[in-house]
């Protein structure tokens, strides 16, 4: 049993933290998220080519750093600290995870493209009617010769406006909510028949509604087995869920630190408001939520390789706890800042917005408590 980081892991954290503190200050971020494209592509290129950071979880034979889920968590936590909108989660964690799981020629072709920063991959899995049920799919992929024809509507696909590729879940068989008949495809984002409606998200990123209108895709776009893709989808979504727990930890830490700092500057009744015990205790409660979010992230990381049921129970426990903590820390950061907290002016409000979106990402507190109970507390 060991809860320490290796030297390489410390180096990844330090290198990335230094890079982000130089390039990703709040004003700079606000500038590029409000630009037409909503991002600064040079940052992604630098993450790939100067830092090698996009190779963090990949094997050395693919040109990666030989890491895994813990390295992803380290990167995501650091991105959380600057409310980074870089598409590391869908590209490296999710699509990279799927490619690592299926291996073979698809992995050999695509992983080096991810590591080099050439590929940005958005994860098109959610549908308007499906809520958090990964199997609730109306999007279909019908066999057509050697390939498939894709039809359907995917909702709130983060990073899709920037994407070179889409990772898509679709039905190749079965009824709308069956476990069987789900397949996973990695396709070019600019195929004929893909219609996007792009928009900004409340937390500073960009996303799209995506409509597939008789999109012809090649047969080798299929990742894993046809119609048996759900366990793989569940696995990569669990990987992603732990990764957003790590991101949340970074966001929450900054919300807490920002609040500590503000209360020591802001004076009322002739003293810094940090002198008031009611605020001190609240900031201690926030601190405890941050620490527990960090603990639960580590638990999630360490249990990702367990058999599916144990993995899902652990991931759901982590996400449920982190979602509650993110809400608590976010709301109290705003409350403690008072009026200035509800303006766009300070960074704190922007951290709050990201924390709030993380609460629901890949399943709300209630969704994950339900899943936990189904596994652990079955009658």
């Amino acid at each position: 049993m060991d809860f320490t980081y290796t030297e390489t892991q410390d180096m990844i954290r330090d290198t990335l933290a230094r890079f982000l503190s130089d390039t990703y200050d709040f004003e700079t971020r606000q500038k590029f998220i409000n630009s037409d494209s909503g991002r600064d592509p040079a940052i992604w290129t630098a993450l790939a080519q100067e830092l090698g950071m996009l190779g963090a979880p990949f094997a050395e034979e693919h040109g990666g750093l030989g890491g895994g889920a813990l390295e992803n968590a380290i990167v995501m936590e650091e991105l959380g600290k600057v409310i980074g909108i870089e598409p590391y989660l869908p590209t490296v964690v999710i699509a990279g995870g799927a490619l690592k799981a299926v291996g073979g020629a698809q992995a050999d072709a695509m992983i080096p493209e991810i590591i080099a920063g050439n590929a940005i991959i958005a994860f098109a899995y959610a549908e308007p009617q499906g809520r958090y049920d990964l199997a609730n799919l109306r999007t279909t992929a019908k066999k057509d010769g050697a390939g498939y024809v894709l039809n359907g509507h995917k909702g709130v696909v983060y990073a899709a406006p920037w994407a070179t590729h889409l990772l898509v879940t679709a039905r190749t068989g079965g009824g709308q909510r069956d476990r069987e008949g789900v397949s996973l495809f990695l396709i070019d984002a600019n195929l004929p028949g893909i219609v996007r409606r792009d928009y900004p998200t409340v937390d500073g990123s960009r996303a799209s509604e995506i409509y597939f209108e008789n999109v012809a895709i090649p047969g080798d776009a299929l990742l894993g087995g046809e119609g048996t893709g759900l366990p793989l989808v569940e696995q990569i979504v669990d990987d992603a869920t732990v990764a957003v727990c790590a991101e949340a930890t970074g966001v929450m830490q900054k919300l807490h630190e920002g609040t500590l700092e503000y209360t020591q500057q802001r004076k009322q009744f002739g003293v810094p408001i940090a002198k008031f015990q009611v605020l001190q205790h609240r900031m201690v409660d926030m601190f405890m939520e941050v620490e527990q979010a960090r603990s639960m992230t580590i638990m999630g990381v360490l249990k990702l390789d367990l058999p599916a049921n144990e993995r899902m129970a652990a991931v759901s426990a982590a996400k449920a706890k982190v979602a509650r903590g993110a809400k608590f820390v976010g709301q109290n950061a705003i409350q403690t800042h008072g009026g200035i907290g509800i303006t766009q002016e300070l960074a704190i409000g922007h951290y709050f917005k990201r924390a709030t979106m993380i609460e629901g990402q890949f399943g709300s507190h209630d969704y994950h408590m339900d899943r936990y109970e189904r596994i652990v507390l079955a009658d």
Binding site: F3, Y5, M283, F287, E291, A317, L377
Partner: protein, 397 residues
């Protein structure tokens, strides 16, 4: 970073399991299952077995009688003893005054007291709180005035846990009235059979005689029984409080507690289904499990993380706050689970009384335990004081 047990750890785990299975006293197990109050002999029975085995003080340095176990082995030990529902060891000697003595004591004090703590020969109690000094411990007024080679001690202590069994007590006393509060306090070891000591019971909500008032009237204490320098007792007190908080998370015991609650809720019926199938009750159990996992991994990070081995720091306040809240929620759920049969008041088996008490065994102590465990957020520095400690020591406020 990993959670794997090495082959040596797994072998150790098996050794611990076998040892408990072969050596845990059967009559003690029966008494626990019946929900009876424990006597001094009950508490000491398991202590003496562990002492004989050399496993009584895993947290102590080897030179003073510790086991030399790794953090992982200590984790395994606490998991296994909780899993087997072993009776808890009294902390006053092993976890409180013992570490103070081996850290601050004279060679003579170490040689005399430490072996007697390990063997269980001396039962210790803690003379800290006073009627006017609870959270503001440094305001204590019990005085010790020098008289030749002795101190003359006068004052009143309270909330003294199990002092009715105690052979020795460690006391905080004021040795300089004019110094700043914390600077005029000394740490004394006092023989509880000394003339002038009176112990009076305080009966708590569950009907237990667990705590006492201790009166000291002209009690003569040799100077050789002072630990560390005169007027430096606060240093020992702070050290002890931080030590007291480390085991206080009680993760392994709470895991066992949740299993007990689940067992009750699988037996009790709610309509035609077990109570555990009730969505509201089930959610409360699940929330508790999730919070306990968060506490467990927070403790593991401090035991086996980058700061391991630095000794308990102010972050142990977090473990105390969350651990005690979870212990309380467990007792709430137990009481809720037993329904009507929380009400009958079981006062233990009287002389010649062999009638089975009212209600299922698991219900007998549900309410008394719920009442009793309100103490956990109050003792060892109330949870509000713990928040003050974190605010000051961790957040720098």
């Amino acid at each position: 970073m990993d959670m794997e047990f090495s082959p040596e750890d797994l072998a150790f785990q098996q050794e611990v399991r076998d040892f408990i299975a072969e050596n845990y006293p059967a009559d003690l197990r029966d008494k626990q299952d019946e929900g009876e109050e424990m006597s001094k002999e009950d508490f000491l029975a398991w202590h003496k077995i562990l002492h004989k085995k050399g496993w009584i003080a895993p947290a102590w340095p080897v030179e003073y009688g510790g086991t030399g176990w790794t953090p992982t082995q200590r984790f395994i030990w606490s998991e296994e003893t909780a899993r087997a529902d072993c009776i808890r060891l009294m902390p006053f000697g092993l976890a409180m005054v013992g570490p103070v003595i081996y850290t601050f004591g004279t060679p003579e004090q170490k040689a005399y007291f430490l072996p007697r703590i390990l063997s269980g020969e001396d039962w210790w109690c803690q003379g800290y709180s006073e009627p006017g000094s609870g959270s503001d411990l440094a305001s204590l007024r019990t005085t010790a005035i020098r008289d030749g080679d002795d101190y003359i001690v006068n004052g009143q202590k309270t909330w003294t846990t199990l002092a009715q069994h105690a052979d020795w007590g460690f006391f905080l006393v004021r040795t300089d009235k004019d110094a700043k509060q914390q600077e005029g306090i000394s740490f004394l070891l006092i023989d509880m059979k000394s003339p002038g000591i009176t112990v009076r019971p305080i009966i708590t909500l569950g009907g237990e005689h667990e705590v006492n008032e201790v009166w000291l009237e002209d009690v003569r204490v040799p100077i050789s029984q002072r630990v560390y320098e005169e007027n430096k007792g606060w240093t020992c007190a702070k050290f002890l409080l931080a030590h007291e908080r480390t085991g206080i998370a009680g993760v392994a015991a709470s895991k066992r507690g949740i299993e007990k609650v689940k067992a009750i809720a699988r037996t009790e019926l709610d309509g035609d289904k077990p109570l555990l199938a009730n969505a509201f009750f089930k959610r409360k159990v699940a929330e508790l499990e999730v919070d306990l996992a968060a506490l467990e991994f927070t403790e593991l990070r401090s035991l086996a993380g980058p700061n391991a081995g630095r000794g308990p720091g102010p972050e142990s306040s977090l473990l105390k706050i969350k651990g005690s809240e979870i212990q309380q929620r467990l007792t709430e759920l137990s009481l809720e689970a037993v329904g009507h049969y929380g009400a009958p008041y079981f006062r233990g088996f009287g002389e010649g009384d062999n009638e089975h008490p009212i209600g299922p065994d698991y219900a007998h102590r549900a309410a008394p335990t719920y009442f009793n465990v309100r103490k956990t957020t109050i003792y060892g520095g109330s949870n509000e004081i713990q928040r003050n400690i974190i605010a000051k020591m961790v957040l720098g406020l």
